[in-house]
């Protein structure tokens, strides 16, 4: 009887120990999350509807087609091409981004009213993406090596088992002091992110509102970013999302910026 107890105990202990050693590291979780969130498929296209809602309930709308193509592994280079439908007075405006891991992206903007392409240099970390509550970094991600990650706990969020990862930037030039991410254990998509400012107060919350399976890739088709301090909210929804559509490299050029092919923009 005593023996059996000891055996049971030993099994229990080793199982527990195994459990820990088998558990993924925080870096692995974040790497998988990056791949699932920002790099799924070879390329991607979606009609994006963005609503910018002020504290007082005023709305601004941004409607665009977004095209993305990956170059290399997950975490590597990417190119984005964006064509604007709304607001009405910027129709035909196009925007192109060459994203590199670990340094600021190159961006070009075509201004149809003066028929001119201009390069734009801005800080990914701080700049707002088209006036929304998302920064460029929130849209296209940041290099995993820039933060230290730690799994704080595991819990259910929205009925899904998830890892809660705390990411603290190594350099002090960020607007936030750390970020908490709730990563779905099955899809590795972030279900929620909380940003804490330099005073340690929660100020920005990302929420994945709707996740759909598109061509086998779980995709966040509705999301929001709320700034708790300014009261400003941005809601984003994807329609006609698609993967592996075979975007040519030539699309990402000044020529097509000026004359975007209907085939890709519509």
């Amino acid at each position: 009887m005593k023996k059996t107890l000891i055996i049971v105990f030993a099994i229990a202990v080793s199982a527990a120990l195994c459990g820990i050693s088998l558990a993924v590291t925080p870096d692995e979780v974040m790497k998988k999350s990056q791949a699932a969130f920002l790099y799924p498929g070879k390329d991607f296209k979606a009609r994006v509807m963005m609503k910018l809602i002020s504290k007082g309930g005023q709305e601004r709308v941004r409607e665009m087609t977004m095209l993305r193509k990956n170059y290399g592994e997950s975490g590597g280079d990417q190119k984005y091409f964006i064509y604007f439908f709304q607001p009405a007075d910027v129709k035909d405006m196009t925007f192109m981004v060459y994203k590199y891991p670990g340094r600021d992206a190159d961006r070009w903007l075509f201004v149809p009213a003066i028929s001119m392409v201009r390069r734009i240099a801005a800080k990914d970390k701080h700049s707002s993406f088209v006036g929304s509550d998302f920064t460029y970094e929130d849209v296209s991600g940041r290099s995993l090596a820039e933060d230290t990650h730690g799994i704080i706990k595991e819990e259910k969020t929205g009925g899904k088992d998830s890892y809660v990862v705390k990411s603290t930037p190594k350099a002090g030039d960020m607007d936030y002091s750390y970020k908490m991410s709730w990563i779905d254990k099955s899809t590795f998509l972030p279900l929620k992110e909380e940003y804490y400012d330099k005073r340690g107060e929660l100020y920005k919350v990302f929420t994945a509102i709707e996740v759909k399976d598109i061509k086998g890739f779980p995709t966040i088709t509705k999301r929001s970013m709320k700034n708790l301090q300014s009261g400003h909210l941005t809601e984003v929804s994807y329609s006609r999302a698609d993967y592996g559509i075979g975007i040519d490299d030539s699309l990402f050029s000044e020529r097509f910026l000026k004359q975007p092919p209907k085939k890709w923009t519509e």
Binding site: L52, D89, R118, A122, S128, G131, S230
Partner: protein, 788 residues
């Protein structure tokens, strides 16, 4: 059945009365720990008032902050050097960490967005991400600063010696606490930099903190001064303390009631204790008369009751007049004004209640010998004060026509002075010249665009109109027009951003520093701007549907008139230039203009109402309109002369002054009530009393004869000498306690102090000279109907 007399009851049961008074006082005192203050001038107007609803709407539409602190940094050698720039960076980093600061919208070298163009590239970045290492870097920074008109006079002065960090505050943050925290941060900086913290929240919340100090320090000091002066007058500490307690009890009751009812203490109600203390001096007449009576009767209880019989009517009526003067404020629009009126009216009534109970009760505790000693000195024949007062009245009785003529000339001069009065209010000027708040404000206002902020909202009839070149050009023209005003330091609007983008897109060519030609261009430039800069930059100047634009107008002064000038200039521009847009003012500067105006006119209205009410009370009290008119004269005189002087010395007719005008009425009329009541009483008493009138006795005229000129003159002299002494004592006591306020660090308190001191002394003086003159001159008319 005998009528119940509070005085007699009090004299019979003094211990009970005192115990009861103390008990009630303790009850009111239990409310004190619940005290709250509210120094935000916003709350002068209810949240539902038009201006507040509109300002809230504007704040919401444009994502604006109600409160902003400006930290000015000055270096005489120029701020563009490694050390000062490093300081700016360190300070900004620390400021961003302060709780209550809206960190995302702090404007400083390291946080403000700059859009520049180089080699076909638009660069959007904070003006200074790191401190330049060498002269080349510093020169580059200088170039960027001065070629961007959005920065000049905002974060860099034209001479390069001053910069500012603008710190917006979250709703409900305490401006003084944050300002103090900023001061601690800058204290750590060594080097040549000088630092100045300014802005509306600093002034307002510093004022609130000072207000509390003043209540805690000056009210007791005023009380002590009164105690001391009273002691000098009566040489009896016990009675002096009694009078003081009388005031203190009334103050505790009223403040306890105020706090208990849940009202916060505003700047106005904070002055109530001193006012009540002053009003309490009216009980001086009881003391004054008591000693005279005691000398005559030598029986303490009898003297008390007789005294009360003699003075009860004037004391009751002065209380009524004072209470009424304050109670009219209850009918005003502004809540703190109403609260204040109710508070003082309640306190005045409490005081009077005490005068008829607590004071007589306390008298019974005084030893007879002591009273004897003091009473000995109180003889109008030998007392020097009485003699002097008698002579003063003599001026009026002997040369009445001349006296009145001199008075009329004075009044005419005063009216000329009043015509020069300038209505204005300036919260920063509520601080003394040498104070931190004032110096900081002056420094920043001289070097940069200005710390006081107003908005002009351009409202179009349709969405997207603001994006049209015509709207843009109109706004631009209006800005240039407003900038011509000396009070306007800088204006900023969406047009400035559009012009900036236009120029930057065209390789920084100054030719393109203009409004673009088409609506498409403007729309796309704005979009481009919104893609790169902080969202708030654009939100602050234009609404979401592009129907409304917000023009920021930085003013170099907190004068309420400055915003008035801006509004007139806008109207002038609109008349000369047609536009479908409507222009509406908003912002703190506009709010200050509105509430000042409202308080002011509320007070003027109250003043007129008080004039009528006080006149009615006088007429009722004297049972004669004629006597009321006479009694009214010294009061009107005093007020006219004081406001005349204010007009001549160029003191603005501001909020504190307007408040005072109301109060002065209820208080200054007291002397006339005492004088006239006692004069007429004496006249009645004198019928058949030859001793009353020495000249009549000497002339050997038959007793009981009709009133002669001599009787009137003698009675006037007597009134001036005996109750007149009470009047002067009252005035001196009043003046002494208020003189203390002249040493306060805040100008409204100084104003109140100086105003009350001069008013009391002047009205006492006017009463004693002009009432005798008027009564002498008009005795036929006045005494005709009197049944004496």
């Amino acid at each position: 059945m005998r009528k119940f007399s509070l005085v007699e009851f009090s004299v019979e049961h003094p211990r009970l009365i005192v115990a009861l008074s103390v008990l009630i006082t303790m009850l009111f005192m239990t409310q004190f720990p619940k005290v709250r203050t509210d120094t935000n001038p916003k709350n002068m107007l209810p949240a539902t008032s038009d201006v507040r609803v509109w300002n809230d709407e504007v704040e919401k539409t444009f994502g604006l902050y109600e409160d902003m602190i400006a930290l000015g940094i000055v270096n005489e050698k120029g701020i563009l050097n490694k050390d000062t720039l490093a300081s700016i960076q360190r300070i900004t980093d620390e400021v961003l960490k302060i709780k209550g600061v809206a960190a995302r919208d702090v404007s400083s070298f390291t946080t403000i967005d700059n859009v520049t163009a180089e080699n076909q590239t638009l660069t959007v970045a904070p003006l200074m991400t790191k401190v330049p290492e060498d002269t080349l870097g510093i020169e580059h920074l200088r170039k960027m600063l001065y070629e961007n008109p959005l920065f000049i006079n905002r974060i860099i002065s034209k001479d390069g010696k001053t910069t500012a960090i603008y710190v917006p505050l979250e709703k409900g943050a305490n401006g003084k606490e944050i300002a103090d925290r900023i001061k601690e941060i800058v204290k750590k900086e060594k080097g040549d930099g000088k630092y100045y913290v300014a802005g509306d929240p600093v002034a307002r919340d510093t004022f609130g903190a000072e207000m509390f100090k003043l209540m805690a320090i000056f009210a007791p000091i005023a009380g002590m001064v009164m105690l001391f002066v009273r002691y000098l007058m009566f040489r009896d500490l016990f009675l002096s303390i009694t009078l003081m307690m009388d005031a203190m009890i009334a103050i505790v009751w009223s403040m306890g009631l105020l706090i208990g009812l849940g009202f916060p203490i505003h700047i106005m109600s904070s002055m109530a204790p001193v006012f009540l203390m002053a009003i309490a001096t009216d009980s001086m007449h009881i003391f004054n008369e008591f000693y005279f009576r005691y000398r005559e009767t030598k029986d303490k209880k009898k003297a008390i009751i007789e005294t009360m019989n003699a003075v009860s009517r004037p004391v009751r009526n002065t209380a009524l007049a004072t209470a009424a003067g304050f109670a009219v404020l209850l009918f005003m629009n502004i809540i703190p004004v109403r609260v204040f009126g109710g508070l003082v009216a309640f306190g005045t009534i409490a005081l009077r209640l005490l005068s008829f109970s607590f004071i007589p009760a306390m008298f019974t505790f005084v030893k007879d010998e002591k009273i004897e000693k003091i009473a000995h000195a109180e003889d109008i024949g030998t007392d020097r004060t009485s003699q002097f007062l008698g002579k003063l009245a003599g001026i009026g009785t002997h040369k009445p026509a001349m006296t009145v003529a001199a008075g009329i000339i004075l009044v005419i001069i005063a009216i000329i002075g009043i015509a020069k009065t300038r209505v204005n209010n300036n919260m920063v000027e509520w601080f003394k010249k040498g104070s931190d708040v004032r110096i900081s404000d002056t420094v920043i206002n001289q070097a940069l665009g200005g710390t006081s902020l107003g908005y002009i909202i351009a409202i179009a009839k349709e969405d997207d109109y603001i994006k049209t070149p015509e709207a843009m050009r109109y706004i631009e023209g209006l800005q240039r027009h407003l900038e011509k005003l000396p009070v306007v330091g800088k204006t900023t609007s969406v047009v400035d951003y559009v012009k900036r983008i236009n120029r930057v897109l065209h390789d920084d060519d100054p030719k393109y520093d203009v409004v673009p030609e088409t609506k498409e261009m403007i729309g796309q430039y704005i979009f481009l701007f919104s893609m790169s800069a902080k969202p708030s930059d654009l939100d602050n100047v234009v609404d979401y549907p592009f129907r409304r634009a917000n023009i920021w107008v930085q003013l170099k002064t907190w004068d309420a008139t400055a915003m008035q000038n801006v509004i007139s200039a806008v109207e002038g521009y609109k008349r000369a230039n047609q536009t479908p847009m409507e222009m509406k003012p908003a912002g703190t500067a506009y709010f200050n203009l509105v509430w000042n105006h409202e308080v002011l006119w509320d007070m003027v209205k109250g003043f007129i109402l008080a004039l009528i009410v006080v006149f009615a009370i006088l007429a009722y009290d004297f049972r004669s309109v004629k006597w009321a008119l006479v009694g009214y004269t010294p009061l009107l005189f005093t007020i006219l002369i004081i406001y005349g002087v204010l007009g001549f010395i160029g003191k603005d007719f501001d909020m504190p002054i307007s408040v005072l005008s109301c109060l002065s009425l209820g208080m200054a009329v007291d002397f006339a009530i005492h004088f006239v009541s006692r004069f007429r009483q004496r006249l009645t008493e004198c019928r058949g009393e030859p001793l009353c009138s020495p000249s009549q006795a000497q002339a050997g005229q038959p007793q009981g004869a009709a009133l002669t000129r001599d009787v009137v003159t003698d009675t006037l002299h007597w009134t001036a000498a005996r109750p007149g002494k009470g009047i002067v004592r009252n005035a001196v006591l009043f003046a002494a306690s208020f003189a203390v306020m002249m040493f306060a660090p805040l100008t409204p308190y100084i104003t109140v102090g100086a105003f009350i001191v001069s008013m009391m002394l002047l009205s006492a003086f006017m009463t004693i000279i002009y009432l005798p003159a008027l009564i002498t001159l008009m005795q036929g008319w006045l005494l005709k109907g009197d049944k004496i």
